[in-house]
Symmetry: C2
Subunit: 323 residues, 2 copies
Amino acid sequence: LKKRQYIVSVDAGGTKILAALIDSDNKIISRAKKSTDAKNGANAVIKRIIECIESTLIDSKVKANQLAAIVVGIPGSLNSQKGIVYLAPNLSWRNINVVNPIKRHFNIPTFIENDANLGALGIHHFGLGKKYENLLGIFVGTGIGGGLILNNKIYRGKSFAAGEIGHIVINPKGEKCGCGNYGCFEAVASRTAITREIKNAIKTGKKTVVTKLTNNYDLIKSGTLAAALKSNDKIVKKSLRSASETIGLVIGNMSNLLDLNAVVLADGLIEAVGDFMLPVIRKSAEDVALPQNFKGMKILISSLGDDAALYGGIALAKEVGLF
Amino acid sequence: LKKRQYIVSVDAGGTKILAALIDSDNKIISRAKKSTDAKNGANAVIKRIIECIESTLIDSKVKANQLAAIVVGIPGSLNSQKGIVYLAPNLSWRNINVVNPIKRHFNIPTFIENDANLGALGIHHFGLGKKYENLLGIFVGTGIGGGLILNNKIYRGKSFAAGEIGHIVINPKGEKCGCGNYGCFEAVASRTAITREIKNAIKTGKKTVVTKLTNNYDLIKSGTLAAALKSNDKIVKKSLRSASETIGLVIGNMSNLLDLNAVVLADGLIEAVGDFMLPVIRKSAEDVALPQNFKGMKILISSLGDDAALYGGIALAKEVGLF
């Protein structure tokens, strides 16, 4: 039993696959990274996941039979018990069994979990220096994902599809969302929404430093937004403030519904410009939340960066008693 | 031990106190009812609760020492472990210990719980012929209350204040709510909101049978709304449809967030006109919910009527192992 003292944790995102080999001190001892290349189909992506896992083993001179478990985070709805991904729009996957080919290759217990759930779990166990019993992770990037930890465990719902906070409708008369609905949270407050607002401002002749920083207004990078903030750009500030107000409204509502101990913000946009957004978010959440519920609720920025879901893999392996 | 085969379950509402003596077959064998008269202060209300409990005992010839537990539902935020009601606006209570005087009087283990939580628990265990693992109870009356059952248990949150669905902000530019905020769910879709809409229609000269059915437009009774529906009244239909659409929107959002097995609607308004509202609610929920989450989620009307919280008391007494 002493031999199986490692796990590999994988975060298979829409653009890149991250893998980490983790030892029994919860330390990442080697890493691998590949672009996802989802356009070549599910088998090709699974092959790349396997290559990433192998790469972490080779780099650290650990053998596959020393692994206690492999955990893979997937951006989609899935059945973690059956190992099947039902729908992962960013990977163009529908009803794909991810677990079987990986398990067959390494002969190691393999688990999948929604990436936002894993991210929230990672933050819960490793990201805050304290375990908040009821925690909502909000991942603000191109879209908006959510992961709920309730009573110290991932809350999955009846069909493993809970936490879809990005598709809470904020304003039925709002912008169209990728899901087909109008006014979803992610259509109103994600980086995509912020980009759209800035683009519209540029179209109507407003001046912004963004036009000097990039030629591509289709999805303005978080780094570009951060640079524009440093230049005190009014257009960028306005659109970030507007997104922050909506994020705060949603957090206030979640506080009223779930009486949370903590809300943790994470992902690209937050890492880049979260310091500017956080005070606006807090104020807006406080306006909405009932005093009793707001009292003692923390609103924090995750310190785990890209590694939140990888750390979540450790917690999941422990949860099933394999690590 | 065989002697302690009964419990008394109490629902202490803003207008009336209901009590029921329940035997080990989960059957209500006697009942008591008193007006709450909250204006005389907390001690007077607690005295009336005690009188109701005594009355159920006398009527059924059961002795207090045959009780396994007393459970009291309270419309407010409270700490069920400490027995303290923090805030119950409808009772004008703030920091009242309800448990101690009742426990002292009967010398029986006594518990308090939020009435909407108890109602949801009662529906979960006794109201549907089946236990839905993740269930939201929405109580639509003068206000809107909510109770969450997650993983088959009451979900209480960090400070026992979860489930305040009535104070989720739907429209920050909407009507003022009793809580001080604008556009809360209960300010938009409760009987109070429906009354306001009808009143406004009457003010602007619209014709409605409501003017023949009542002289009091301050809070139109659910029975009056039901009678107006029977007369096919357009104004009443319109306002009920509008409230139903909002209720559906909230249910769709809750489905996306919590991937619920069931949402159960209850309380005065739903009992009176729920059959008219339900199809509109379902349609509106389906428009908002992600297909995966909506699939298999039931939207139902409670069959327990006023007794939901009383039945919840049975389940709570079982939960703590006393019944």
